[in-house]
C-alpha cells in the first residue's frame, strides 16, 4: 500500500450514459436506495447543434481523491484521512455528521448515508483492489465501453501512467488547487 498512488483515467468520448457504473457501485458498496445517494454518477452535457448535426458529451464523476483534499482539512474529528496510497477515506465511527466536508467539497462527491448515519463516498472499492486476487473497482470492471482505467501512478509501466504519458488530459476544477486523481483525457 505504501508505494502506490491510485488513480482513474477516463476517456469520456467513449461514455454512452448507460449508468452501469452507478448501478454497479450501488450494489457493490451498499449505497442506500434513493435519488440522492450516489458515490458516482454521470453528468449529462447539453445537446449541441441542430438536427441532423448533433452532439452530446457525458462526464462520469465521483470523489476525485484529491491530493490536497478540502474535506480532510475541514473535518473536525479527523474522520476523513488520506491513506498513503492516495485514497481519501471516511471513518464511519468518527463521523459526527456535521456535514462540513459536504460544504467544502468542490465536486459534491459526498452524500449523507441515512443507514450508517455518516458521510459516505467513493473508496476506489478498497475491499476489491486489496482482495487476493486483486479485483478492479466495480465501476471500472462493469463499464461496457471501457471509459475508465484504474491503476497505480507510481508504476511508470501501468496502463494509467502510459495513458497519461501519451495523451493530454485534464482534471476537474483545477483552479481549486485540490490536485485531483481522476484524469479526463482530452
Amino acid at each position: 500500500m505504501k508505494n502506490k498512488r491510485f488513480a482513474i483515467v477516463l476517456d469520456t468520448d467513449r461514455c454512452i450514459d448507460c449508468k452501469a457504473c452507478t448501478v454497479a457501485c450501488k450494489a457493490e458498496n451498499n449505497v442506500p436506495l434513493g435519488p440522492d445517494n450516489y458515490r458516482n454518477w454521470v453528468v449529462t452535457g447539453k445537446l449541441r447543434g441542430s438536427y441532423p448535426n448533433l452532439g452530446q458529451s457525458f462526464i462520469p464523476s465521483q470523489c476525485q481523491h484529491c491530493g490536497n483534499a478540502p474535506c480532510e482539512h475541514v473535518c473536525p474529528t479527523k474522520a476523513t484521512t488520506t491513506n498513503p496510497d492516495g485514497i481519501v477515506h471516511v471513518d464511519d465511527d468518527k463521523c459526527i455528521g456535521c456535514k462540513y466536508c459536504q460544504t467544502a467539497c468542490p465536486y459534491n462527491a459526498r452524500y449523507y448515508n441515512e443507514e450508517t448515519e455518516a458521510i459516505d463516498k467513493c473508496t476506489f472499492c478498497t475491499q476489491r483492489i486489496y482482495a487476493v486476487p486483486a479485483q478492479l473497482p466495480a465501476c471500472v470492471e462493469t463499464c461496457p465501453t471501457k471509459v475508465r482505467v484504474f491503476g497505480d501512478l507510481n508504476d511508470p509501466n501501468s496502463e494509467v501512467s502510459l495513458l497519461l504519458a501519451k495523451n493530454p488530459s485534464k482534471v476537474l476544477k483545477p483552479a481549486m488547487g485540490t490536485n485531483p486523481h481522476l484524469f479526463y483525457l482530452d
Binding site: 440522492d36 473536525p76 474529528t77 465511527d93 463521523c95 455528521g97 459534491n108 452524500y111 488547487g177
Partner: protein
C-alpha cells in the same frame, strides 16, 4: 461552604417566586421548550431525513440560527469596551447584563450545533485527548474551542461580579480586569472564526470573499445591541433596576455606526459581483432576484434590506433615536433584518446553485422550525433565570444577611405589577 449554600438556596427562592406575568412568561417558555424536546426526540429517532437538508444544501435553518446567535453573543463586547476601557458610568452599571445575554446566546449556539449534527452521540470525538479534535486545521474545531472559551470567560466574570456584589464587596480588579480585557478579543474571535468557517471554502464563491468576516462583525454589532436595548427597556419598566437614558441612547448610536458599515460592506459585495458578472454572481442573483425561476429568498432579503435601511435612518437621527416608540421599532427592524440577512440569507445561497450547478431550493420543515423555536425558548429561559438572580443583586434586594452567612431577600417580585408601582408612588408622595 455554608455561605455558598445559602446563596444557592436564595437563588432558588428567587427563581421560584414572582408576579403572575413572570409565571406566565416562564410557563410559556418551558412549554415551547418541551415541544422542542419532543421534536428533537423525533429527529433522533428518524434521523436528519426529517429536515429539509439534502446533499445539495447540507446546512439549513439550524446553522443559520447558530450563525446569527454567535453575533448576538459577540455583541456583549460593545458594552464591555465603554464600561471597562473608558469607565463610562451609565454603561458600567449594565455591562453585566450584556455578559448574561452572551451566556444565553452561546448556550443557544451550542444547542443549534448539536441538533444539526447527525450523530450527537459521537460528540465526544470533539474532546481533545479523548477523541481526535482536528485542531488547528479544521475551522470547526477552532469554533468549538473559542465558543467554549468565551462561554467560560463570561460565566466566570459575571458570576464573580454578582457574587461579590451579593456580599457587598467590591470585586477585585486585579482579577476582573485581565479577564474583561481578554473577553474583548475573545468576542471578536468567536465571530471571526465563525466567518472563517464559511470563508475558507473555495468551493463556495458566495462565502469565499474576504469581506465576510468584517461583514459578520458589523451585522453582529447591530443585532446584539438591538436586542439589548429592548431588554433594557423591559427591565427598566418592569423591575426596580435603574438604567439611564444616556446608556440606552449611546447603544442606539453605536447601532447606527455598525449598520452604516454593514450596509456599505453589503453594497461593496453586490457591486463586485454584479459589475464583474462572472459565474460567481449566481448565488447573489439567487438571493436578490431569483435564479432560473427559483426565488424563495427574494421577498425575505428585500424585507431585510428595507428594515435595515429604515432602521439605520432611525438610529442616525437623534430625535428618532431618543423617541422610545421609534427606538423600539428600529430595534425590532434591525433584529429581524439581520436575522434574515445573516441567517438564511447567508447560509442558503452558499449552496444554491451547488457546486455541480444544480438547484435544490431549501425551505425548513415543521420539525426544524419546532426544534429551533424550542431552542430559542430554552435560551430565553436561561436568560430569564440569570436576570432573575442578577437584577435583585444589582439593585440591592438580594444580599447577604447581617449574620454574614444566610441570605436576605428584600423583594421577591420580579415583574412589578402596574398597580403595585402606582401604590409605591402614592406611598412615596404621602411620605413627602
Amino acid at each position: 461552604m455554608k455561605n455558598i449554600w445559602s446563596f444557592f438556596m436564595g437563588t432558588l427562592v428567587l427563581v421560584s417566586k414572582g408576579s403572575k406575568a413572570y409565571y406566565i412568561w416562564v410557563g410559556a417558555l418551558l412549554t415551547i421548550a418541551g415541544f422542542g424536546v419532543m421534536g428533537y426526540l423525533h429527529q433522533l429517532n428518524s434521523g436528519l431525513a426529517v429536515t429539509a437538508m439534502k446533499d445539495q444544501v447540507s446546512w439549513g435553518f439550524y446553522i443559520s440560527n447558530f450563525t446569527f446567535l454567535v453575533g448576538v453573543a459577540a455583541a456583549a463586547v460593545l458594552l464591555v469596551i465603554p464600561a471597562y476601557i473608558y469607565h463610562w458610568k451609565p454603561i458600567k452599571e449594565i455591562a453585566v447584563l450584556g455578559e448574561l445575554l452572551a451566556i444565553s446566546a452561546i448556550c443557544m449556539c451550542l444547542m443549534f450545533v448539536t441538533v444539526d449534527i447527525g450523530r450527537p452521540d459521537r460528540f465526544w470525538h470533539l474532546i481533545p485527548k479523548v477523541g481526535l479534535l482536528n485542531f488547528p486545521q479544521s475551522l470547526l474545531a477552532w469554533d468549538v474551542v473559542v465558543l467554549n472559551l468565551y462561554l467560560t470567560l463570561n460565566l466566570v466574570i459575571a458570576v464573580y461580579i454578582l457574587y461579590e456584589t451579593y456580599y457587598k464587596r467590591v470585586p477585585n480588579k486585579s482579577f476582573t480586569t485581565p479577564l474583561l480585557l481578554l473577553s474583548i478579543p475573545a468576542a471578536i474571535a468567536i465571530h471571526t472564526v465563525t466567518a472563517f468557517l464559511y470563508n475558507g471554502l473555495g468551493a463556495r464563491p458566495f462565502w469565499n470573499a474576504s469581506i465576510l468576516a468584517p461583514r459578520f462583525l458589523a451585522s453582529a454589532f447591530c443585532a446584539g445591541p438591538a436586542f439589548m436595548i429592548i431588554l433594557f427597556l423591559l427591565i427598566r419598566k418592569y423591575t426596580k433596576f435603574k438604567i439611564q437614558d444616556a446608556a440606552i441612547h449611546k447603544v442606539a448610536e453605536l447601532i447606527a455606526y455598525a449598520m452604516a458599515v454593514n450596509l456599505f460592506l453589503f453594497g461593496a459585495e453586490v457591486f463586485k459581483e454584479y459589475y464583474t458578472g462572472s459565474v460567481h454572481l449566481a448565488p447573489l442573483k439567487y438571493l436578490l432576484q431569483g435564479l432560473h425561476g427559483y426565488s424563495a429568498l427574494v421577498p425575505w432579503i428585500w424585507t431585510a434590506l428595507i428594515f435595515n435601511m429604515s432602521a439605520f435612518l432611525i438610529f442616525l437621527i437623534p430625535e428618532t433615536r431618543k423617541n422610545h416608540v421609534t427606538l423600539v421599532l428600529g430595534c425590532l427592524m434591525v433584529f429581524t433584518g439581520v436575522y434574515i440577512e445573516k441567517g438564511m440569507g447567508l447560509v442558503v445561497p452558499g449552496f444554491v446553485p451547488d457546486v455541480l450547478h444544480e438547484i435544490y431550493e431549501y425551505t425548513p420543515t415543521g420539525i426544524e422550525i419546532i426544534i429551533s423555536m424550542g431552542i430559542w425558548a430554552t435560551g430565553l429561559f436561561i436568560l430569564t433565570m440569570l436576570l432573575r438572580v442578577a437584577i435583585p443583586i444589582l439593585n440591592g434586594d438580594f444580599h447577604v444577611a447581617a449574620d454574614g452567612v444566610s441570605s436576605h431577600i428584600g423583594d421577591q417580585m420580579f415583574f412589578i405589577g402596574k398597580r403595585q408601582k402606582e401604590r409605591e408612588k402614592e406611598k412615596a408622595e404621602s411620605l413627602e
